[in-house]
């Protein structure tokens, strides 16, 4: 598939006087897209506007090449959505719920039932699927939400904070699943999260939104390239000596509170850095390029934008 999956031109969403989205123009190609922004920046609003959960006040948007305003229903047969909040239908069993969601997207009952169970397998739900959704834990809810978003085999899924409230193992599993959606199954993913690390890990493209405006849209690679020449070193002990060695080799460096050393070395690769450290008898345990690139870009974008 080629062409943009999301196109916005001047999308504005007003809630009374407050602009939830302010003249947003975007063009996004298939892939995994990370949506970042402070609380209340308009991430969820953008997703909801694209799905026609909120009517767009001004401007136009196209999803998968179709106009959101006039063909909302047709578009949604090819799009999945897992909202941030709970949205289960009480009184239903897990598998009933997913089957029902599939049917709502037009799958005949037999196929809906089959796919519902396949998707529940896919998200790693076991016998819990035969329990009422009202009794589910956060982890199960997140899984069911993911299952219902992909049960009709969409081309694009919107996931709003899919790892919120999960324990480390659960988060890891959900992240792996989400990652595989694009990498293995060619389903584009738009993911919103507060955890930059999650986005860093999964997403190929980053969109940063604040106060209803798009501040940054770029690939993660390009964003990281902005921080090329920076590295984070992990050494055991001898921090001061390492700092001195680095400074002696024309590097700017800083000791972080967690004992790691951030260094601006300005070289093409880390080999020369390791070389001169090695010559002084220092063997870093880890050497990570462009550390916290996403965080830096994020904070920078927001500070450039200025305070309220």
């Amino acid at each position: 598939m080629s062409g943009a999956i999301i196109e916005c031109s001047g999308v504005t969403k007003l809630f009374g006087d407050f602009a939830g989205l302010n003249n947003v123009s975007l063009s996004v190609s298939p892939g995994t897209i990370g949506l970042l922004g402070p609380n209340g920046a308009g991430k969820s609003t953008l997703m909801k506007c694209l799905l026609q959960l909120h009517p767009i006040s001004m401007g136009g948007a196209r999803l998968l090449g179709r106009d959101v305003g006039s063909e909302g229903r047709e578009i949604r047969t090819r799009v999945g959505y897992a909202p941030e909040q709970d949205c289960l239908i009480s009184g239903m069993l897990g598998c009933e719920y997913v089957t029902y969601c599939a049917q709502l997207n037009g799958l005949p009952f037999q196929e809906a039932r089959q796919r519902a169970h396949e998707m529940l397998d896919f998200v790693g739900m076991g016998q819990e699927r035969y329990r009422a959704v009202d009794t589910y834990s956060t982890g199960m809810k997140q899984r069911v939400k993911l299952a219902q978003a992909i049960v009709h085999d969409p081309e694009l899924v919107f996931l709003d904070e899919p790892t919120n409230g999960l324990d480390p193992k659960g988060r890891e599993q959900i992240l792996q699943l989400v990652e595989s959606l694009w990498k293995k199954h060619n389903i584009s993913v738009v993911l919103s999260s507060h955890l930059l690390q999650d986005v860093d890990r999964i997403c190929g493209e980053i969109i940063i939104i604040a106060r209803g405006e798009v501040l940054v849209q770029d690939t993660l690679k390009n964003l990281k390239a902005r921080r090329a020449g920076f590295a984070e070193l992990v050494v055991e002990g001898e921090h001061q000596r390492v700092l001195e060695i680095l400074r002696a080799n024309e590097c700017t460096c800083e000791l972080e509170s967690n004992g790691h050393i951030t260094v601006k070395h300005g070289r093409e690769s880390l080999t020369p850095v390791l070389k001169f450290l090695h010559d002084e008898g220092v063997r870093p345990i880890e050497a990570l390029p462009s550390p916290n690139a996403l965080e830096e870009v994020f904070l920078q974008a927001l500070s450039n934008h200025g305070p309220d």
Partner: protein, 341 residues
């Protein structure tokens, strides 16, 4: 990790049309309602009630047939029937349209909308179902999920409306049809079908218009709040208010208050559709001696038929307008309230 089964497959089947999706919502709504505690009892009661009515109609049919065992048994054991039994039969032979048709019409007038009837049971069923219709979707934010699927708000409402219609079919329309069918299948003559067709037509017209109205009201009430208890309270309140308004308005100068009560309006509508008064007028002209008695007047009073005149057209028009306005208000509530978040 081993426990993740990444057996994701793409599908290449067709997707069904929007009609199917609406039907799915209706089905799911009905299923959710039937799952409610006590709902099964209400539904069973409706059908038992229908069965009893059928038995009653069977008894009536037997009275029209001199060769039946029931007739023989009754005339032998009940002295009263010894004298009037043959009269009935002669009457049925002579003027079946009045003897059978009108009696059925009266019966179904009572069956479909009297105090102890499937209408009352349907109102109870609706009261129980209301928290499950839209209220629970509002509180659990399931509306967001519906809206993110390939259904619009209109489709959602249509589906829910379909669900209510299904429920009312089970509790009201279905039993009514079953009663009619039972009464006629067990009747002594096949001609009963023909003679009782007007009664069926009247019942169906009234029940179906009542269903549409009650369905809208139930959806409206259900969408007003996200708290199940409040929704039920509002429904009970609306019912009680109806009773109170029609009582206050009755016979007073503020008679117009009655029109605010949907009970009153439904009664008017029913009276007009079944045209019981008309039946009585016709009966009075054909058999004046029969309708003159004191007992008969009491009977009519009990049925709420005061004058020997048909329900005036303009009264019915006002009633229908009021019902439509109430239904419109329900629709407006739906439109305002059924929104994601």
């Amino acid at each position: 990790m081993a426990q993740i089964d990444s057996s994701y497959t793409h599908r290449d089947g067709d997707t069904r049309g929007i009609g199917y999706r609406r039907w799915v919502i209706a089905q799911a709504t009905l299923t959710a309602c039937l799952k409610l505690k006590g709902m099964k009892w209400v539904v069973w009661s409706c059908w038992i009630y229908a069965f009893l009515q059928g038995i009653f109609l069977f008894g009536f049919g037997q009275l029209m047939d001199p060769s039946s065992a029931v007739y023989a048994f009754i005339t032998e054991n009940l002295g009263f029937f010894k004298s009037i039994g043959p009269m009935f039969q002669g009457w049925a032979e002579e003027n079946p349209r009045i003897a059978i048709g009108m009696t059925y019409n009266l019966f179904f007038y009572i069956f479909t909308g009297y105090i102890v009837s499937t209408l009352t049971l349907s109102l109870v069923a609706l009261g129980m179902a209301i928290p499950r219709l839209i209220t629970s979707d509002l509180s659990s934010r399931a509306i967001t999920i519906y809206s993110s699927k390939a259904v619009s708000r209109l489709d959602y409402c249509l589906g829910k409306f379909g669900g209510v219609m299904l429920l009312l079919t089970i509790t009201w329309l279905g039993p009514m049809l079953a009663t009619w069918l039972m009464g006629n299948l067990m009747a002594p003559k096949i001609s009963f079908f023909w003679h009782t067709a007007p009664a069926l037509l009247h019942s169906s017209m009234f029940v179906m218009s009542g269903m549409i109205f009650l369905g809208l009201m139930a959806l409206g009430v259900s969408s007003m709040t996200s708290s199940p208890r409040t929704a039920t309270s509002i429904w009970v309140g609306v019912l009680l208010l109806g009773v109170v308004l029609s009582r206050i308005g009755e016979g007073s100068e503020n008679y117009w208050l009655q029109y605010l009560s949907f009970w009153f309006n439904l009664e008017l509508l029913q009276g007009w559709v079944f045209n019981i008064s008309g039946d009585f007028i016709e009966l009075g002209t054909e058999y004046p001696s029969f309708t003159d008695g004191h007992i008969f007047d009491r009977f009519k009073e009990r049925l709420g038929i005061k004058k020997n005149v048909s329900t005036p057209r303009h009264d019915v028009a006002v009633a229908i307008t009021c019902l439509s306005l109430l239904g419109g208000a329900a629709l407006l509530t739906l439109y305002k309230k059924v929104k994601p978040e």
